[in-house]
């Protein structure tokens, strides 16, 4: 049973560029959440997708956007990259809301470096 997978593992971008990160949820999960973990910090919630719609959003600017596909996989897009966007981006999956107090399963993350 494959867990949560993310691609790419590492990414180096230049300030002002755009980036797309990808995530495939654990088998049987249909809810995907994205988190940003800056160096030395705890993960910060970006947004959550369920049934191809953004259901909840954290305190992140509109430069951060996402998408969920019919197969439940998801993308995180960041436009106009800033140096401060350098972080580990974590994807987490879980069963649908209302199905119980399930924990979220995290992928290995994508390390984004903005130069």
């Amino acid at each position: 049973d494959a867990g949560v997978t993310q691609s790419p593992t590492h990414l180096i971008k230049t300030r002002g560029q755009q980036v797309t990160l990808r995530c495939s949820p654990k088998s049987g999960h249909d809810t995907v959440s994205w988190y940003q973990q800056a160096l030395g910090q705890g993960p910060q919630f970006i947004f959550q997708y369920y049934e191809e719609e953004e259901r909840q959003r954290g305190n992140f600017p509109d430069r951060f956007s996402g998408h969920q596909f019919p197969n439940y996989s998801s993308e995180l897009n960041v436009n106009a990259l800033l140096l401060g966007d350098s972080a580990l981006y974590l994807c987490a999956s879980s069963p649908a809301p209302g199905q119980g107090p399930y924990e979220q399963y995290f992928g290995p993350g994508t390390r984004l470096t903005v130069t």
Partner: protein, 114 residues
């Protein structure tokens, strides 16, 4: 607003000794509480959760956590530490209803010496 505090940046313990990693939270109502562990260059691995019921929750790798509602705490414990337990530990909280945003603490680095 929901918040989670992990008052210790680092905890040092000798192998074989008991360990405690502290967590307090500030959330109204009855939140769900979680502990995750992160090894270098890895994502987060789920250790255990408290939903309701018995205040002592047992999880993976011999870890357990004690929920204390009056002190709004959820401390992680292990009776006998292993060198391989050395990692970064995160406490997290979420509301029981609606969607599943997790609010994390800043993390505590656990160093277990041989």
């Amino acid at each position: 607003a929901q918040s989670v505090a992990q008052p210790e940046d680092q905890v040092n313990v000798a192998e074989g000794n008991p360990l405690t990693v502290k967590c307090t939270y500030s959330v109204s109502g009855n939140p769900y509480l979680f502990w995750y562990v992160q090894y270098p260059n890895r994502g987060l691995q789920f250790l255990l959760k408290y939903i309701t019921g018995d205040n002592l929750v047992k999880g993976s790798y011999g870890f357990e956590a004690e929920f204390n509602k009056s002190q709004t705490s959820f401390h992680l414990k292990k009776p006998s530490a292993l060198v391989s337990d050395s990692a970064l530990y995160f406490c997290a909280v979420r509301f029981p209803s609606g969607f599943q945003k997790l609010v994390f603490g800043t993390g505590t680095r656990l160093l277990v010496s041989p």
